[in-house]
């Protein structure tokens, strides 16, 4: 017992506290989101999301205990096994999963549903950390880069096949950890630049973007020092120019030919949310109204009219931030942003002090994932990101997502608790 107690006491208190605050606040807001002023809505009524969320929280505590009592070496040693098992489940679910709103990503056992894709994030983090911490693996080598990419792309593609675009998109966040571990900056830069160009291509007619790019290319060449104005550099500038133009033109093609109509709509709405306020733009418009009407101090607990009267859809899950924004105003928004950023900073601080490369990389993996969720989820509720159905970590209603984030975080905290015992592989 004494040993167990010490295992718990070694957990980073600040992280656990931040986690607990997030989960409890999340739960309170799930209650507010499902609260119906006409019937006596109770916190613990399991016919409502808030009652069920309470059960998921209790289950999370059990999961935490399991993680703590499990040997810390388990996660390192069995990283690939866990990865393989989850990938297997992800493929299996395509064939035997329940069809929920067109996606085949849920196992259904009675009333209870489980989404293996949620756990794939954790499994991929473990596997990637394991691989990148192996001796002789360095992201300077093309072969290692390809293998690393494969670890990410395999679950990504499988999850795309499950038609869970949102969850699949989260895997893009691994670019952050890959960058952190030595992938040349050009890769994330290309992704960001590609994103910017794609946006430009959607907003401005591609031909104008191309004229702009051509002008830019000419200016770059013009201001090159004389001794740099050689054939090689002209070719490089020319190639970059053509590559960028290609992106711009391909966006139009992708949006119109490749994307499904509802996905295309979501992108259109991002740039012109008022184009269809009662149709597909409804979610974003209503979400902004709910948050915007909160004012500085908010309307107060259970006083949010937009929340109470179902103007915002999916408000206990993907749009949970609306409830916070409406009932607690800017103060509430600031608190939530600070809590999540605080937790991220704390994890990064802990990761940086790891002697084990595995633990450090794993730490950054979960930072990447949580940050990506934060960026997309809150971004979509305030109209800065397209509507992508991914939850706000720790806050949103949902067993699979809560458990997945809990596991991710506490595996890392468990590793951190044993940091002095972990072998350094530098």
């Amino acid at each position: 017992m004494a040993k167990n107690r010490s295992q718990f006491s070694n957990l980073d208190t600040l992280s656990v506290a931040l986690f607990a605050i997030c989960v409890i606040l999340g739960w309170i807001n799930v209650y507010a989101a499902v609260y119906n002023p006409e019937v006596d809505t109770r916190f613990f009524d399991i016919s409502t999301n808030s009652g069920r969320q309470f059960i998921w929280i209790l289950a999370s505590i059990i999961i935490i205990i399991f993680i703590i009592v499990t040997d810390y070496k388990f996660y390192d040693t069995f990283a690939f096994v866990i990865y393989g098992f989850i990938i297997f489940l992800c493929i299996l679910v395509i064939f035997i999963g329940a069809n929920i709103k067109g996606s085949h990503s849920w196992f259904k056992i009675g009333d209870f549903t489980l989404q293996p894709a949620e756990f794939a994030k954790m499994a991929t983090s473990l596997a990637l950390a394991k691989y990148l911490s192996s001796p002789n693996v360095t992201l300077n080598k093309v072969r290692d880069r390809i293998i690393s990419a494969a670890f990410v792309l395999v679950p990504l593609i499988i999850i795309l096949l499950e038609k869970e675009t949102g969850v699949a998109l989260v895997f893009v966040s691994f670019i952050i950890i890959l960058y952190r571990e030595g992938l040349p900056g050009i890769f994330p830069l290309v992704i960001i630049l590609g994103g910017i160009l794609a946006v430009l291509g959607l907003v401005i007619p591609p031909i104008f973007v191309m004229i702009g790019l051509a002008l830019l290319a000419f200016l770059v060449y013009y201001f090159l020092p004389k001794y740099e104005k050689n054939t090689k550099n002209i070719v490089v500038i020319g190639l970059i120019f053509f590559a960028m133009s290609a992106i711009v033109f391909s966006v139009d093609f992708v949006v119109n030919k490749v994307l499904e109509p509802h996905q295309r709509k979501r992108i259109e709405i991002l740039f012109n949310p008022d184009s269809d306020p009662r149709g597909d733009g409804y979610n974003v418009t209503q979400s902004k109204i709910a948050i915007g009407s909160g004012g500085f101090l908010g309307k107060g607990f259970l006083e949010g009219t937009q929340t109470k009267f179902d103007f915002v859809p999916e408000q206990s899950t993907d749009f949970i931030f609306c409830t916070i924004g409406e009932e607690y105003g800017f103060i509430g928004s600031l608190a939530v942003v600070s809590l999540i950023i605080g937790l991220l900073l704390r994890i990064m601080f802990l990761a940086d002090r790891q002697r084990s490369k595995f633990a450090r990389i794993y730490g950054y993996c979960i930072v990447s994932i949580i940050f990506f969720h934060f960026m997309i989820n809150i971004g979509m509720t305030i109209g800065l990101m397209p509507v992508v159905g991914i939850p706000l970590p720790f806050f949103s209603y949902g067993g699979s997502s809560l458990w997945s984030f809990t596991m991710m975080l506490f595996i890392f905290l468990k590793l951190d608790a044993h940091r002095s015992q972990l072998l350094s592989r530098y």
């Binding site: 915007g292 004012g295 500085f296 009267f309 179902d310 800017f330 950023i341 900073l345 305030i382």
Partner: protein
């Protein structure tokens, strides 16, 4: 070192995103206030509560007007699915184009919220369609109220309500009415609009995204309750009113009864009238246009809007002003000789005012008026100038009887009538001192340029009954539970004639309404002494208008009456019987002369009426100017 840099870059990126989001949140939540409004638009619906309009009772607390529930059909475009349009249109009796048009308009207003589709279905209509409504998704009923008239005989006096016209909406200075609101458009409904309408209330109701009601916003703290309209107690005696209404059947004209010592209007009939039900609720649109275009002009409130020459009833006033000025004495005698106006009655020389009134002697009053115009202010030797001076004097005295003035009756659109003055004749004869008594002597017998409304002559009957004063006639004797009345209706207005002169005229009127007088014998009652004066008003087209003014009983009069029957011929035979039966009803509480009553009802004078083809452009509520009567009044 590279690791260090990259950690910093990652941290920097995270911070960058967080800062951008916080800025955006600050903008949405603190700077841009439009979202607060948008949220209220979403969830909080401001519902205007239209209060019940005030009830109207008669003087014996019998209900005249109340409110009856009706059903308004609302449509919510979003919920409308698979409607069998043809069946719907048959059921509600609208055209398919109308249906489509209304749906389109509803969509423009709101897709999610209910819009008024068909207004005011009666309970009967509602019962007919109620069962079928389940097949028409998106349509629902809400109850509201419309005016229910319990007596068909008070149409013109009570008036009607209708949707406020755009013109009135623009004119309205107070910020009260909204498009589609109901407003009193004529009669008491219009004059007492501000009392009857009550005060609108506002309710803030929370609605969810499906538009379902979710209770009061902030527990109703911001709500303003509606205040029901005030109950009005009309001075109308419903039994008398209904009798009068039936007596005026088959006739065109007016019948008015007033309680002389209070000025309270007991009955006010304009004939022909209309069934007030036709202008209530949904019927309004259908029938209003028809009523406006009807050549008999049922919407014209003749007692206060029609103009006639007073004819011989004016001799009462002529007697009084002449006696008061001392230009004659009660025993003034005049023969027929030398008068340019012939006497219509076969009688010997009139040897007194009483006798002249009894016989309605035209030459007598030619000489009376001649004396007034020429035998005063003899210091002015120019006969033109003397006529003008004396006309001015005469005008001042006659004006006190309300002639040529608005009486200030509590009904809208009362006319002034004409009391010709010096300026009037100067204009006709193109310049001052171009006319003299011999040009204007028609005034002596109430013909020529003077015109009155029936109400004015009823008021003259009151003055005679009161022997010298009147209280402005009014149709509402109590407002609200306190029963107060407007201040102007309690003030006695004296006409400046000594009471002793009234005794002379009243005696003459009594003789006129007795055997040997001008009142038809059937109208004379053995047990009630009537004082009256007949009149026949000359008229360019068709037969003369028949006029009778009277009061009864002679001492301590309870009722004063004026009856005008257009193209009815002699006042004594066309109008007198109506007045006689009204007196019987009011003083005895019932009519004993049933056969006589039926005979009076059946007597048809309306066939004599030369219907004037009138094209009146009018929106609801617009005054209908009785131009035809003006034309008829202008001297040939």
């Amino acid at each position: 070192m590279q690791d260090e840099n990259r950690t910093i870059i990652i941290r920097g990126f995270i911070f960058f995103v967080a800062i951008v989001y916080l800025c955006r949140l600050f903008y949405l939540q603190v700077i841009d206030n439009s979202y607060i409004e948008a949220a209220e638009d979403n969830a909080i619906q401001k519902v205007t509560e239209i209060p019940f309009r005030g009830l109207i009772y008669d003087r014996n607390k019998k209900l005249i007007v109340s409110n009856a529930p009706v059903y308004d059909l609302y449509v919510t475009p979003k919920k409308v699915k698979n409607i069998d349009t043809v069946r719907f249109c048959n059921l509600f009796q609208i055209s398919i184009d109308e249906f489509k048009d209304k749906i389109e308009r509803a969509k423009i207003y709101s897709y999610q919220r209910p819009t008024l589709f068909i207004r005011q279905l009666s309970i009967e209509d509602f019962a007919k369609v109620q069962d079928d409504l389940v097949d028409f998704q998106g349509f629902s009923f809400q109850t509201s109220a419309f005016r229910k008239y319990h007596s068909s005989g008070v149409a013109n006096a009570i008036g009607y309500v209708g949707e406020i016209s755009e013109k009135d909406l623009e004119k309205s200075t107070e910020d009260y009415y909204r498009q589609g609101d109901y407003i009193g458009l004529s009669g008491i409904e219009k004059y007492y609009e501000s009392y009857l309408r009550g005060k609108k209330g506002i309710k803030y109701i929370m609605k969810n995204s499906k538009g379902a009601e979710k209770g009061a916003y902030k527990n109703g703290e911001l709500d303003v309750p509606s205040v029901p309209g005030k109950t009005l107690y009309s001075s109308i005696d419903l039994d008398l009113q209904n009798l009068t209404d039936s007596l005026m059947q088959n006739k065109v004209g007016s019948a008015i009864a007033i309680e002389p010592n209070t000025g309270e209007i007991l009955a006010l009939v304009s004939a022909p009238s209309y069934d007030p039900k036709l202008l209530s609720g949904r019927n309004f649109r259908k029938t209003y246009g028809k009523l406006v275009m009807d050549p008999m002009r049922p919407l014209l409130n003749r007692p206060i809007q029609a103009r006639y020459r007073p004819g011989s009833t004016f001799k009462t006033i002529q007697s009084l002003v002449a006696l008061q000025q001392g230009v004659i004495t009660p025993s003034f005698t005049a023969s027929h000789a030398g008068s340019p106006i012939a006497c219509t009655h076969n009688h010997p020389v009139s040897s007194s005012v009483m006798m002249a009134l009894q016989q309605s002697c035209n030459p007598y009053y030619y000489f009376v008026f001649r004396r007034f115009m020429l035998d005063q202010n003899l210091s002015e030797t120019n006969i033109f100038k003397r006529s003008a001076i004396n006309l001015k004097l005469w005008d001042e005295m006659v004006a006190k009887f309300g002639i040529g003035q608005k009486l200030g009756v509590d009904l809208p659109s009362e006319i002034k009538g004409i009391l010709p003055d010096v300026a009037f004749y100067n204009k006709i004869y193109k310049g001052p001192n171009t006319w003299k008594f011999s040009n204007i002597y028609s005034l002596a017998i109430g013909e020529g340029e003077v015109t009155v409304s029936p109400m004015k002559m009823a008021n003259v009957a009151c003055i005679l009954a009161n022997r010298g004063y009147y209280i402005t006639p009014h149709i509402v004797k109590g407002i609200g539970t306190s029963g107060s009345i407007l201040r102007q209706y309690s003030e006695r207005k004296y006409v400046g004639i000594d009471k002793k002169h009234f005794d002379v005229v009243v005696e003459g009127m009594h003789r006129a309404a007795s055997p040997g007088g001008t009142l038809s014998s059937g109208a004379i009652m053995a047990d009630i002494s009537i004082c009256g004066k007949t009149g026949t008003s000359q008229n360019r087209v068709g037969k003369d208008h028949a006029i009778f003014i009277c009061f009864a009983p002679r001492d301590n009069p309870k009722i004063a009456i004026a009856v005008f029957v257009e193209n009815g011929g002699f006042g004594g035979s066309a109008s007198g019987p109506v007045a006689s039966l009204m007196i019987e009803q009011y003083l005895k509480g019932k009519v004993e002369r049933q056969a006589y009553k039926e005979q009076v009802i059946a007597t048809n004078y309306s066939k004599n009426v030369v219907s004037k083809s009138i094209a009146i452009k009018t929106n609801s509520g617009e005054l209908i100017t009785p131009k035809a009567e003006i034309k008829a009044a202008v001297i040939p």
